[in-house]
């Protein structure tokens, strides 16, 4: 976690970044040099100035034309510039730096801090190399007291995002269902109630889908319920997260290529946990719960099989077609559990389908649901924080495709099973998965399903998001949920 601090005094000789906006004149110290270098303050334009501030290195970071998130992008690019070349092991690492935020209002300062914190976050580094990443960042401001509340709010969200990213980055030998649940117990110190339901409880209560997915693993599944009581009373908003700590695909095993990324198949659950942490840290008045379905989908002698029929917690029976479509199964039981908590709305997050990546790529997550108001609010929240969504349909056929001859429904279609001919090779799996989940979310509670596959991870050479982050988990969803709660559930 990059430590952020507000200061009014430019002490020390740590490198300093100045966010330059094209519509504003540069300070006199920079202007002549910037003019010589033809610095135009365009987005992404970065100029290093040695000598403008005595012995301190200064970076001019272009903000580009006015638009939402401009200062956040500038904050991220500033940290990138200040950090120097991570590959250059000869250079002295920069551990402390300054962003000059004087002349900005608290909201803009908060955005700068958000971008800086997102870019400067250090993911778990299990190597034995010396640490080189930026550790502390001072925000030089005119009035630290005025900016403090906004920074506190931003830091709460950043810590939530950081938790989600760290959890998703953990390798699956370190983050097993049991250790995942144990780590979540740590949220108690922030006032979050944490209940962990283990194998016995799940068996007693008939959570047959979650149990089936986890049965191939040496580590039994967990259902974890996090509760932030808030202060307003009333029904909580419920987050439901898919937490597959590693997804081999099970008996329907995945190809080897890229399988290492499946350690992040719990990004939905991690985002829900991160959002609860953010709400707790900023003392949100809104009560919220998160129901996390945590299991490892392993290939083994005890694994569940294609063709198996499961009895879910809701009592409905499900025919298993492809054991690699396990996310919707664990969510089915988690959604059922969430309904039992009497929520005002349910929002589930899951790295659910490759289909949504084919549909929307790496720039938007898929949004499904049963309630126009919640849909619009989620869209607005996503746009506001730079985690954009796109509404997707659940058609009548997506549901009827799930009809089963032996059970109440099947959870997916077999690969290439979309009917005869060319068309049948292509399955609208994201829509069908959403149709499946709808059966368990129920019709009476507003429900939204975010298929975040394609958005949960930043990959080398794949563009995604408003600005580059280092490869690894993005924490997608934490900020969106935090914003959605602030906009819709904190009345």
């Amino acid at each position: 976690m990059l430590r952020l601090r507000l200061t009014e005094l430019p002490r020390g000789r740590h490198p300093l970044a100045f966010p330059a906006l094209p519509e504003e004149a540069l300070p006199a110290a920079y202007a002549p040099l910037a003019a010589v270098a033809r610095f135009g303050a365009a987005e992404g334009e970065v100029l290093r100035l040695d000598g403008a501030l005595g012995r301190r290195t200064a970076w001019l970071v272009g903000g580009g034309a006015p638009r939402p998130l401009r200062m956040e992008v500038a904050g991220a690019l500033a940290v990138e510039a200040l950090s120097g070349d991570p590959e250059d092991r000869e250079a002295r690492p920069v551990r402390r730096a300054v962003i000059d935020a004087r002349g900005l209002d608290p909201v803009a300062i908060g955005q700068l801090a958000m971008g800086a914190g997102m870019r400067g976050h250090r993911l778990p580094d299990l190597s034995t190399r010396p640490r080189r990443a930026l550790r502390r960042l001072d925000l030089l401001v005119d009035d630290a007291a005025a900016a403090a509340p906004e920074l506190a709010r931003v830091e709460a969200v950043l810590r939530g995002v950081g938790l989600a990213r760290d959890l998703a980055a953990e390798p699956a030998n370190r983050l097993t269902p049991t250790s995942f649940a144990e780590r979540l117990l740590g949220l108690r110190k922030h006032g979050v109630e944490v209940v962990v339901h283990g194998q016995d409880w799940l068996e007693r209560h008939g959570y047959g889908a979650l149990l089936a997915v986890g049965q191939g693993s040496a580590r039994p599944p967990r259902l974890v319920v996090l509760r932030w009581p808030g202060s307003g009373g009333g029904a909580p908003v419920a987050f439901v997260g898919k937490g597959i700590t590693f997804d081999t695909g099970g008996i329907s095993i995945k190809p080897a290529k890229g399988m290492e990324a499946m350690k992040g198949d719990m990004a939905g659950a991690a985002a829900c946990a991160g959002a609860i942490l953010a709400l707790a840290l900023r003392r949100s008045p809104a009560p919220a719960v998160a129901v996390l379905a945590i299991a490892e989908n392993a290939t083994g002698a005890a694994s569940y099989r294609p063709g198996d029929v499961l009895r879910t917690a809701s009592g409905r029976t499900v025919e298993v077609v492809d054991t690699d479509a396990e996310g919707r199964l664990v969510l089915a039981d988690a959604l059922h559990h969430a309904r039992g908590l009497g929520p005002s709305a349910i929002i589930d997050l899951a790295t659910l389908t490759g289909s949504i990546v084919s549909a929307l790529g790496h720039h938007r997550a898929g949004l499904f649901g049963n309630d126009d108001g919640l849909r619009d609010a989620a869209m607005a929240a996503g746009d506001a924080v730079g985690e954009p969504l796109w509404p997707m349909p659940i058609g009548a056929k997506h549901r009827s495709d799930l009809d089963s001859a032996i059970a109440d429904l099947r959870h997916c279609l077999p690969v290439g099973g979309g009917g005869p001919g060319w068309v049948g090779k292509f399955l609208p799996d994201a829509c069908q998965a959403a149709a499946f989940l709808r059966e368990f979310a129920g019709g009476d509670t507003p429900w939204a399903h975010l298929d975040i596959a394609g958005m949960d991870l930043r990959e080398e050479g794949v563009e995604g998001g408003a600005y580059p982050l280092p490869p690894g988990p993005s924490g997608f969803g934490v900020r969106l949920l935090d914003r959605l709660v602030a906009d819709r559930f904190e009345t």
Binding site: S358, L360, H363, W390, P393, G421, V423, A430, V462
Partner: protein, 552 residues
């Protein structure tokens, strides 16, 4: 096409009778009258078959009396949800349930509340009864469908006949599209396709055909690189329908553009063999534009429309375009061909820019079986809709909803556009990897519309059906003909749209309950005609229907 006639209600002397009934009609006056005419067999049959009038339910009673061979009950569902689509579905379901009957009467009186209800039912029947029979030479006559005509029984046959004229034109357009899409690629190659479109001239459509030399002269480097591997020469066909009263040439038309790859092997980036036979319908976008032009001309739509289709065959050969080749499009922009199986966008690029430059249309809508990714995204209930104009997109979606051809809006954006940056040319023809494949395809097209309001319908998932639907037999669906016809009718013919009014339960019930049973009773009692003799509707002259009545 089925012969469609409209007549006042009377008991047919022979053949079949179809009785569409809403759930509320069970035990009502209409059913009561037929029951009396049939000596009580209807009520007994309904009870025995547990017919509830549920939507899509149908029950057949054989030899129910009165000389009828069979009585088919078709459920309409709840009366409050009755609309044109439900009437069409009832007509389609009736045809499906009629089996080997040759002629049938359909009592449309349970479907009421708007003027065109009987004609809507007839349209549904006609659409369902279509069959592509050209290449079945050994099928025994007794195995063929025998239904040749239906008589729609209604209150006002004259009015229904009037309403039918425009629907008939739409059905003709749909059938042209279905036929073109069904034709195998050894028959329907680009020159043959263009020849068939020439036949639209009889309806008053101006048809211009551009051949290889013309296209070379124009500089269609993008489209021509697709056809260069084929022995079949390419064609571009420009169809113009000037339906406004003014003969002014300067009126700004609206434009529809279709992808017409008569067969798509994928070219050098050849497709896997499984399912490749379906690539004969990779010209469905062009087929749809052709059917739309026929429908608009057939009903004398008061609108100026241009329809452009780019017709090519995509084959692998020694002369085929290769991955890595760079071509110069009509617009002047250069394209690096990465995947020769992403050929549809190469064809559309030139046709879109040509259309914009020559006609400066008010908007352009293109249709294309463009990507498999759109099926992965949406399945085959919705086409993908991409647009740079929110108003146009909303109108397209609304028109689709009212005719049962659904389109789902998909996103565009700069971030997606960056995926088709090329290191050597202005753009490449596919983005990196499979992510967002239908969006990057749309971004590619958008680079050729030159700021024109534009919408792209990716119809890969909806152009061909693997199952019978109430008004669409399996096979070529002609998806889009009706949607675009409706779009034109509602927004571009200088009149306010005629909305189907919500059915008022009282009005509908009184209509059925008061007037018609009296008439029926009269007709039933005296066998001589106190009922107006059924009036067969003369088929509207195909080339130039005299009526100006345009649409529902």
């Amino acid at each position: 096409m089925l012969d469609i006639a409209f007549a006042k209600a009377s008991l047919p002397e022979s053949g079949a009778l179809v009785l569409p009934l809403a759930e509320e009609d069970l035990g009502g006056a209409l059913m009561g009258e037929w029951d009396r005419l049939l000596g009580g067999s209807l009520a007994r049959g309904v009870a025995a078959a547990e017919f509830k009038g549920r939507k899509g339910q149908s029950t057949t009673l054989y030899a129910p009396g009165g000389g009828l061979s069979r009585l088919v009950l078709v459920g309409l569902g709840k009366r409050e949800s009755l609309d044109a689509a439900a009437a069409e579905a009832a007509g389609g379901n009736a045809v499906a349930a009629l089996g080997k009957e040759a002629v049938a009467s359909v009592d449309a009186r349970a479907i009421g509340g708007w003027a065109g209800a009987p004609a809507d039912l007839a349209l549904g029947a006609a659409l369902r009864a279509w069959r592509f029979d050209r290449y079945r030479t050994t099928e025994k006559p007794e195995d063929k469908p025998r239904l040749t005509g239906i008589k729609v029984l209604c209150e006002d046959p004259q009015a229904a006949k009037g309403e039918w004229a425009s629907r008939r034109a739409i059905a003709d357009g749909v059938f042209l599209t279905r036929e073109l899409v069904s034709e195998p690629a050894n028959i329907l190659n680009p020159p043959e396709f263009a020849d068939r479109l020439r036949k639209l001239e009889k309806l008053g459509v101006e048809v211009e055909v551009f051949g290889q030399k013309d296209l070379e002269k124009l500089g269609f480097g993008s489209m021509l690189c697709v056809s260069q591997g084929s022995a079949q020469p390419p064609r571009m066909v420009v169809m113009r329908w000037n339906g406004t009263d003014s003969k002014k040439k300067d009126s700004q038309p609206i434009a529809f553009i279709g992808k017409g790859v008569t067969f798509d092997t994928g070219g050098i980036s050849i497709k896997p063999a499984g399912g490749m036979e379906d690539m004969k319908w990779d010209m469905a976008g062009a087929g749809t534009v052709a059917g739309l032009m026929m429908a608009l001309a057939g009903r004398k739509a008061k609108v100026d429309v241009v329809g452009l289709v780019g017709l090519v065959e995509n084959m692998p050969s020694g002369t085929a375009v290769r991955p890595g080749d760079v071509v110069t499009s009509y617009s002047g922009q250069t394209i690096e061909v990465i995947n020769t199986d992403a050929e549809g966008r190469l064809v559309l690029a030139d046709v879109l820019s040509y259309c914009k430059k020559r006609f400066d249309p008010a908007f352009m809508v293109n249709l294309a079986t463009l990507t498999g990714a759109i099926i992965v995204a949406l399945g085959n209930e919705h086409a993908g809709l991409f647009s740079n104009d929110d108003g146009l997109a909303a109108r397209l979606q609304a028109a689709g909803k009212s005719v049962g051809e659904l389109a789902w809006r998909m996103p565009l954006g700069e971030a997606y556009d960056r995926a088709i940056k090329s290191d050597i040319a202005d753009m490449k023809n596919v983005g990196g990897g499979r992510a967002g494949g239908s969006i990057t395809a749309a971004q590619f097209l958008q680079r050729f519309v030159d700021g024109c309001p534009w919408a792209h319908l990716d119809i890969a998932g909806v152009a061909w059906g693997s199952k019978d639907q109430p008004t669409v037999p399996k096979g070529a669906t002609a998806w889009g003909v009706r949607l675009l016809d409706r779009l034109v009718a509602e927004h571009h013919e200088g009149r306010s749209p005629v909305a189907v009014p919500a059915v008022e339960p009282e009005a509908a019930v009184s209509g059925v309950g008061s007037e018609s049973p009296a008439m029926l009773a009269e007709g039933g009692a005296s066998s001589d005609a106190s009922i107006a003799a059924p009036e067969p509707v003369a088929p509207a002259p195909a080339p130039r229907p005299s009526t100006r009545r345009a649409r529902r």
